[in-house]
Symmetry: C2
Subunit: 157 residues, 2 copies
């Protein structure tokens, strides 16, 4: 999904070039005045992916300062996130469904099961930011379709 997101941003940059406006202006757009702009939707999607992998694998995630300002910087953030995800050893995820996770936003002494965290918080949270980024671009005229959203799945024969 992060790879797809990077491709949507490339299409937005192309449209900016064609219509001769600064591509960075995309990053300011929001669907409502009290929703995050595209920049923060992308940062949040990256963080959502990073934290779920790190928590389920019980490793320390890399820090990101959320100081991106340009299209190039936000694309580098996506790349850095994908690099981290690729670096996670799948063996570390064994038993993650039953792992006790203590999350910074839970009341003291409380925890959630890895499986519940994944299905009922991390996935909806990740997709919230990914789809809203897509919807911001689509609402503002980037020529994207469902296929750009979903990407491809491995097909067998």
């Amino acid at each position: 999904m992060l790879k797809n997101l990077a491709a949507w941003l490339d299409k937005a940059a192309e449209l900016a070039k064609e219509k001769e406006f600064p591509a960075d202006r995309w990053l300011e757009l929001r669907l409502a005045p009290d929703m995050y702009p595209l920049l923060r939707q992308v940062q949040s999607a990256c963080d959502a992916a990073k934290f779920v992998a790190a928590r389920l694998a019980d490793i320390t995630p890399p820090k990101h300062e959320d100081n991106e300002k340009t299209f190039e910087e936000i694309k580098a953030r996506i790349d850095a996130t994908m690099e981290f995800l690729d670096s996670v050893d799948a063996a570390k995820l064994e038993g993650a469904a039953d792992r006790k996770l203590v999350l910074p936003f839970l009341p003291e002494g409380k925890w959630v099961r890895g499986e519940d965290y994944l299905a009922e918080f991390a996935l909806p949270n990740f997709y919230f930011h990914i789809v809203t980024a897509y919807d911001i671009l689509r609402h503002n005229g980037v020529a994207l379709g469902k296929r750009d959203f979903i990407g491809s799945m491995p097909i067998q024969d």
Copy 2:
């Protein structure tokens, strides 16, 4: 997520009542002229949930005619979908990760593994429609927040 979606629609209906416009008008709204309106986003979210459960459990899903026109009818569709999901015997999902799925939109003779279908098609597809429904409501002034989106997860102590 479908339960959350029903609650967002209730908030939209309340706003319609408060501002004295017909609640069904929400169902026509789109984020772009070539995107589905809210009505079809909700129908598609229901179908996405129904088909993934049916395919992975290898059972025949109930048919829905997509003929809803009113707020009440679309809420009944969500209820019917949740009822179907609740009726699926979890034991039927055993081995679903490796099940060979032949999908109507694949070229003849091709198939996908259950696990690939779930992670790389069904989940993004479901969340696409769920989040876009949320974004349509949010963009048009329904007072929703991230907590309404995600709902709650089971917390332990």
